[in-house]
């Protein structure tokens, strides 16, 4: 994964465009799944260091093989399907939740031309798919025939839709500034370190914070993790899932967080471009991982909000703030 891609020249890895897309898709999807799996190790170490304890140490050096051990363990677990569940929805939900989070990967530009599909509706595609993740989560809660799961599912949808609006509004700011809907164009508009998070001063920075907050809520991370709030709802929607199906929800959660970080890095932090320091995949990966680490940091230092406080926060403050930001950035474009 290093710098100056030979890809950029022709834009294709192979002579055939479908083959290029297929191989790139395989590589990106496998890499992201690997990163998501190892980020669980990383988060456990990170949290352990914050809490005066060593974290995983047993499997491999520094416990690095822990995700493999976890995966193997999950494979051997019995897949318990409780009686009285809605069988088709119950089986389908863990698959869909992973598929919905991986589908978003298709439009994220990792480097110049290094994107599976550079759609001209890229931003909206990513946001629409990430909001679609709510449906399988709700399906899981409803199909489980369990009150805790159902409450978790209802909370997941209520919270997800509440924060979808600030997310959409905050994403409008880079679109107004860049004048394009294509993620690649948005990165190019930020060339030369004119990141939208820094420039224009004011709306950009606030929009970045708003987007990041809403992404946390969409990915159900603390302080917005009420759908699975284990101290209240035990494990929320995943309470009846065991073995690999539970693992899929877990994986999807980390994938979603990773993808949210990547989108935030693309929209607000200049994507693969790093101004005078050059451009390349490594900058995009670095920015994504830094945002990822910030999410962990927040998770292990904050408490959880209450469901109603969470929604009131969104509707009372974040939605009008998002509207004001859109108008402010538009005014800035007129004046500039």
């Amino acid at each position: 994964m290093n710098g100056a891609p030979p890809v950029a020249a022709s834009g294709l890895l192979f002579n055939s465009a479908p083959l290029h897309a297929l191989v790139l898709g395989l590589v990106v999807v496998s890499l992201c799944m690997g990163v998501a799996a190892w980020s669980i190790w990383y988060e456990r170490k990170f949290a352990a260091r914050m809490q005066n304890r060593p974290g995983p140490t047993e499997v491999g050096p520094w416990g690095l093989l822990q995700p493999i051990a976890d995966g193997l363990k999950m494979l051997q677990k019995e897949d318990i399907v409780p009686a009285a569940v809605d069988r088709p929805l119950f089986e389908l939900a863990p698959l869909l939740v992973v598929v919905a989070s991986l589908g978003t990967l298709a439009v994220i530009p990792w480097g110049d031309g290094l994107v599976i599909a550079d759609l001209h509706i890229g931003v909206l595609f990513a946001l629409a798919l990430s909001s679609l993740m709510l449906l399988p989560v709700w399906m899981a809660g409803w199909a489980s025939n369990n009150k805790y799961a159902l409450l978790g599912g209802m909370r997941a949808i209520a919270q997800g839709v509440s924060y979808e609006i600030p997310l959409l509004l905050a994403a409008t700011v880079p679109i107004v500034l860049a004048g394009s809907f294509r993620l690649g164009d948005i990165v190019e508009a930020q060339a030369g370190l004119r990141w939208f998070a820094l420039w224009p001063p004011g709306p950009g920075a606030v929009a970045f914070v708003l987007f990041f907050m809403a992404s946390l809520a969409e990915a159900n991370r603390i302080p917005f993790d009420i759908p699975e709030a284990e101290s209240e709802l035990v494990a929320g929607v995943t309470v009846e899932y065991t073995g690999m199906k539970f693992g899929m929800f877990y994986l999807a959660e980390y994938l979603h967080t990773l993808i949210a970080s990547a989108i935030a890095a693309t929209l607000f932090l200049g994507g693969w471009d790093m101004g005078p320091l050059g451009a390349g995949v490594h900058w995009m990966v670095l920015k994504t991982l830094v945002l990822f680490a910030v999410i962990f940091w927040i998770r292990w230092s904050w408490l959880r909000l209450r469901a109603d406080q969470l929604m009131a926060l969104s509707w009372r403050w974040l939605v009008p703030l998002g509207l004001v930001l859109v108008m402010a950035s538009a005014t800035w474009v007129v004046l500039a």
């Binding site: 409450l151 101290s231 035990v234 904050w302 959880r304």
Partner: protein
């Protein structure tokens, strides 16, 4: 079936919200919270009736950790009882030991020597700090989750608690269920230099209490979750027999250590922290203030531990040292971290050379605190219920016994 609470409490209305407009079958959701639930502090079961997420009615059920301790004590000699009751309030075992042994001493008419009294008082105050640390830490878990910021709070609390367990281990050889109190005194004497190490630990802890205070007061999420939640009415609390930090957070200035001194508390001036808000945050703040005060009390007492014997009776002479008649009774109460922890004991005549109580009854503060739940929960949401349970800090070991 609901307990006929109006019979017990003529002056208090039914705690549950008015069910008039609800059709319980159609609109309310009955939900078992506990016994197997991560944040009911053990095996408390609360049956909640929810309208959406709002609690309309909450009924606590106890008894899932019933071990028959009181019945068991009727078959054990007075000396054998101490390690059994250790497990009652499993977060502060020293307090259980002191409470039963004080009752036995009242029954037998034995007075422990001053050194033992000082040791008991110092141990109790250090134990109070350890217990409150767990209370604050698990409250953090309730609000922030075991996989999140709450776990960080919890582990920082455990960091300080480890120091205290090290201190106790040095004296008794045990980190937890110490079995160090005995009738008429103590079993283990203080090792040389222990007082200096203890003072160092106490200084460190009282210097760090600000961390917990800031964690509560400077954290907007914590304030939003805890401020104004579950305000306890002082009159209701007194009628239900609630004591300890819950009562003091509601503005009732009552502390056994100052108002009915026992042990070495008579020798020292005690500042009782009182707050008037009565909400969940106030209870936590009272606990933190008590931690600071306990560290001060223990440090002061450590300077003046008198020399002398640590037991009034030689353990081998305990049987037969005092002849007990049927029906003689003794009661003693101490201020445990959760409130007034009392033991009532009725003596039975010796049988085959061994003396056992005819009846032993433990008055545990957590049991009374749990009776508040039907009044505290209605009107709050499901998420608040865990905050409420965490803030009244019940220990199911002593509730169910």
């Amino acid at each position: 079936m609901r307990m006929p609470l109006d019979l017990l409490l003529p002056s208090w209305p039914d705690p549950h919200l008015d069910l008039g407009e609800y059709d319980p079958e159609a609109d309310l959701v009955a939900l078992n919270m506990g016994p197997q639930h991560p944040s009911t502090h053990g095996v408390l079961r609360v049956k909640l009736y929810l309208d959406g997420e709002t609690v309309v009615k909450a009924v606590p059920y106890v008894g899932y950790l019933h071990r028959g301790v009181e019945k068991l004590c009727e078959k054990l000699t007075y000396v054998q009882i101490t390690p059994i009751v250790d497990k009652n309030d499993y977060v502060s075992p020293m307090m259980n030991e002191w409470a039963v042994n004080a009752a036995f001493e009242a029954l037998l008419g034995v007075e422990p020597p001053p050194r033992a009294q000082y040791m008991r008082t110092i141990f109790a105050e250090i134990q109070r700090i350890a217990s409150h640390l767990i209370s604050i830490g698990t409250w953090g878990l309730d609000m922030g989750g075991a996989i999140g910021g709450g776990a960080t709070v919890f582990l920082y609390c455990l960091r300080e608690r480890e120091l205290i367990l090290d201190l106790f281990e040095e004296v008794t050889g045990c980190r937890f269920h110490y079995n160090t109190h005995t009738v008429g005194g103590m079993r283990h004497d203080l090792p040389a230099g222990w007082d200096k190490r203890a003072k160092a630990v106490l200084d460190r802890i009282s210097a760090r209490t600000w961390e917990y205070e800031r964690f509560l007061l400077d954290n907007p999420i914590c304030r939003q979750r805890a401020e104004g939640i579950a305000v306890v009415d002082p009159t209701l609390a007194m009628e239900l027999g609630v004591s300890g930090p819950i009562l003091r957070a509601s503005g009732v200035d009552y502390d056994m250590r100052r108002d009915a001194p026992y042990g070495a508390y008579g020798d020292i001036d005690i500042q009782v922290p009182v707050r008037t808000e009565g909400d969940a945050l106030a209870r936590a703040l009272v606990r933190i203030a008590e931690m600071r005060e306990s560290a001060r009390i223990a440090s002061t007492l450590l300077d003046g531990v008198p020399e002398g014997p640590i037991g009034a009776l030689k353990p081998v002479k305990l049987h037969g040292a005092v002849k007990l008649k049927d029906g003689e009774e003794g009661y003693a109460a101490i201020e445990s971290p959760r409130g007034e922890l009392g033991t009532y004991v009725v003596a039975a005549r010796e049988r085959r050379g061994a003396a056992s109580p005819y009846r032993l009854k433990i008055r545990s503060p957590s049991y009374h605190a749990i009776s508040l739940l039907p009044w505290l929960c209605p009107g709050h949401t499901l998420s608040d219920v865990v905050v409420i349970i965490g803030s009244i800090d019940p220990i199911m070991g002593e509730v169910d016994r």
